[in-house]
Symmetry: C2
Subunit: 648 residues, 2 copies
Amino acid sequence: MPRVTFIPEDVFVDVQTGENLLRTAMMADVGVTATCGGDGTCGKCRMIVEQGDVEAIPSSRLTDDQVAAGYVLGCTTQVVGDIVVRIPAESRPGAAPARAHSQRTLAPLLTIEEQAARVPLDKSIPPVLRRYVELPRPDLCDNADSVSRLRQALRREHRVRDATFTLEAMREIPGVVAEAEWNVTALVVDPIGGAPAITRVEPGDTTDQQYAIAVDVGTTSVEVALVDLNENVIVAQCSEYNRQVKLGSDVITRVIAGSTLAGLVELQHLVADTITDLVLQVCAEADVSVPDLNAYFVAGNTVMTHLLYGISPASIRFEPYVPVASEFPLTTARKLGLPGGPATQVISMPCPASWLGGDIVAGVLAAGIPWADRLTLFVDIGTNGEIVLANTDWLIACSCSAGPAFEGAGIQHGMRAAEGAIEQVRIESTTLEPAILTIGNVKPLGICGSGLIDCVAELFLAGALERNGHLAPHTASSERVRSGERGMEYVLVHAEDSGTGSDIVLTETDIESLMRAKAAIHAGISVLAECVDIDITQVEEVIVAGGFGHYLDLERVMALGMLPELPLDRFTFIGNSSLLGATHAAKSSEMLKTAHKIAEMMTYVELSVSAGFMDHYMSSLFLPHTDLARFPRAQQLIDQRVVIEEAS
Amino acid sequence: MPRVTFIPEDVFVDVQTGENLLRTAMMADVGVTATCGGDGTCGKCRMIVEQGDVEAIPSSRLTDDQVAAGYVLGCTTQVVGDIVVRIPAESRPGAAPARAHSQRTLAPLLTIEEQAARVPLDKSIPPVLRRYVELPRPDLCDNADSVSRLRQALRREHRVRDATFTLEAMREIPGVVAEAEWNVTALVVDPIGGAPAITRVEPGDTTDQQYAIAVDVGTTSVEVALVDLNENVIVAQCSEYNRQVKLGSDVITRVIAGSTLAGLVELQHLVADTITDLVLQVCAEADVSVPDLNAYFVAGNTVMTHLLYGISPASIRFEPYVPVASEFPLTTARKLGLPGGPATQVISMPCPASWLGGDIVAGVLAAGIPWADRLTLFVDIGTNGEIVLANTDWLIACSCSAGPAFEGAGIQHGMRAAEGAIEQVRIESTTLEPAILTIGNVKPLGICGSGLIDCVAELFLAGALERNGHLAPHTASSERVRSGERGMEYVLVHAEDSGTGSDIVLTETDIESLMRAKAAIHAGISVLAECVDIDITQVEEVIVAGGFGHYLDLERVMALGMLPELPLDRFTFIGNSSLLGATHAAKSSEMLKTAHKIAEMMTYVELSVSAGFMDHYMSSLFLPHTDLARFPRAQQLIDQRVVIEEAS
């Protein structure tokens, strides 16, 4: 990996080839100004490459003389080898010195290869798969019915035993065998338990088209991946807010809305419509025929899964919090209003408890916990924060309401982790001037979860926030802090740099939402550790899942007091593990079986009846926590900071 | 059984208490005039009860003196004990003496008890059954999902293992448990193979309503029975012509019509509509709620079954005669356009071959062949004549096209075996005057299968038919024989006695249809016997099935040469065995399983490629056969007859 050394601070950071130089500087925590999101238009992040080579896009913001002197714009420059870079004074947002560390590691999202490597290699076939067979032609000595011929050929050639046929598939057989002279492809559905079913018969060999949709149905966001089952890869992926949001942003309001038949029907249609648009989008992108989709593999929390299947979630809201179902029947896309052919199946991850859903089962699967021989803490940060503490013998889990802040919803200028979302923020402590980077390096449109975490943590570390989360009184003198419609707010992007044409701000209300969310997660982790009587520092790996951007600054996550302080190398940032787990299940029957085993093994801790939860929650409503002894590194960062009053 | 002795012939017949006196006289073959079908209006069948008591309905056709002298109308009089009856001269249609036998046995349809006794007692439960459970209420220590609670309770209380739930049933659960406070009834579908499925959940205990529909889908007629699964009885039953008849009267024309998609759809709708009307009728009659029906159990030939399920039968028509399916998937009534609730299931009997269907499997089941330890010939006479020769170790079967004559279709004045159908005929040989009895003892509307057999056999035995089936030239002098629109015809009922206001006639074309039908059946039996190298006289029991009326005159069936001549006590007339078998399957999982075993065991002989069939058929196209030595009793009856020329 190329090493990038910044002078005069003389700090270095190792990055992957092709990494953005501005991001590298932000990783290294050397102060630099950058307000355009990374698209090169503000021209502020000028750096001088003093040793080594880079790949830089020519910029009209730089004069020929400057280019000759080694100047580049950090945001439009890629690191391709070891370099030494100087940040000139004009690119400095303020006088605060770089923090006292000589190297930084940001947790990047696992690469696709790294994600795949967390689960063992597995040669089982997808649970829904087209199989091609050439049937012997019938004659008077062998005039068994067509269904029996097909059943025998599938057993002989593909070891599909005792297959049943749907009526629809039977109806297709006469036309298909006539057209293709007994060379046919059968769609074989082999779910958990029960005999395999043939749901479709097609003329000739159509096994080159084997696609499944993996869906993560989140309370706030829905993400789909189009999986090529032949190549074992995701060929297209996209996400959108769950349109159910219009009937309520959190799970409880959804449950209330879904407790009437009219509400249930509306919510079912809204989520089906959300998925429909995404599926049409990925299929168009990859030029895949929608009616030929093999199946959907759905991972969602228990309420979302109930709503997608049109099953009333009403009972989930009241003690003793009983869902209708924990496993969902094999059904067809059409029955749920999803796009696909009449044979396109829908298979759901099991939902072990009312507040512990298929998303977490899929996440635990994707994280490879069943195969990892170590004490693991799995934290999925979404509208609900679900926490699993596990080793190979047991799995204990809880769920706490985090609200939609981490998905950019319920935040004044929040947005999903999509192009234009501010995903990385640094704030200079003496001026409160920010450097920002957006997903896709385009003009900023809003703030996503990881940007929100960064921004609040940076404000705190810059001394701009008090420990209760309010903007400190002295920040009023900063031109970045002002009184807005909803109280005090911090201006992260001025209108002229914004892709929306308006200021992008962070309000005290936004910060409050984040505080409550992080407090709930930290309290949940504390309760689980107490349940199994372990010290949280014994945890060997922390897997952080959630629909953030490509980077999560774990040091800042810890500085906020959201996750316990542990050595950084114990952390893995896995991304949307729910979607990833659904993808695994789409590809492999064994993985789908393992998901069911995970669901059976899980012990659920109901926080609402847990004596300790509320105490932990109250203690966590401070930055980073009432008990600073638990956060020695955060304490150290606080101690280092050079705040406005000192600098000015 | 009461014994009825007729004088002066001094012949007697033993009948069941309550038997109609006119029918008794017809059984005994003593000549009597009767033209009104048995409703008492013609007043011709006067008899004098000389010893013993009867129950007679007073008739205005008799004077007080006559009543005092013991006169009754045979058709409105019931036998209640041993009696001696004189047929006075004025009731005699002609001078022919009674035939030389002193007792007669007509094969009556087995009683319901006798039908039931042909299969062993069986304690298994119906394949589709409502089960009531009282679920423990959930609390925080036991907050499993509702589906799991219900699954556990069903296993604990009713040994229903590993039940799956349909999406529809899951959707019903929240409302039902809320309404009925966890006391619920589940509709459990436990078909052959696979796990039981819960398809409906209802509040409270609804197990007092357990009804299934058994359906015999014939090419010509459709018959349904409403089965009370709690009481194990048929509570209503009715039949109608299959409305598909409008697209062709035989199976081949149906296959041709069903080979296009439009034709297939129309045929599916026509048979579904036929069944629908019958089901609504029986449910109305028994005051049973249609949406609450548990299931349909369907027995039909292979083509009819394909058409009902909307599966193209096209390939059945061409060598090698391959059907699409031999077993049909569990589906719902609604999917097939049949009346019922969304959970009402449809289960079909398996169809072992293209020309050997679920009707025969059901028939063999109802006949008790799997449990009978003897060589049995089973003949189901419908539009196709299906013949099974079996013992406990093997079953060999064939099918021959009989045409719809036996179901009263394709016959000038034919009708189904319903009220008003002439089901019994005697013809006096010197005058050709008939005595007729209708089903329901009402004015005659037409001729059903058993009436047709009787009528043709009587004409033959009266010398009115030549051995090739044409009316003998000398019959032209009879006022009952005339030249009609379609050649010569015999007038069975004059317009004044008819319920239709028109003459009811039997044409030479009608007779020809019957000749071809009986020849096909006899030839099929001969081929099967040759296949297994047995002499047909070794057969220990002959079971005759088919939708005839309440009686079949087996002696006349044999005189026609339709069935081989065997001692009368080896014959059993079982009625609609297809419907009866479907009823057994509705009542018992074991019976349904046995039906599948029967289908697996059956060896099918394809007559169209059998060398001997055509020879046998040609030899059988005479009355009774070219080889009279095979029909000694028929020969004897012919020898006895006193025909017009002799008498006049």
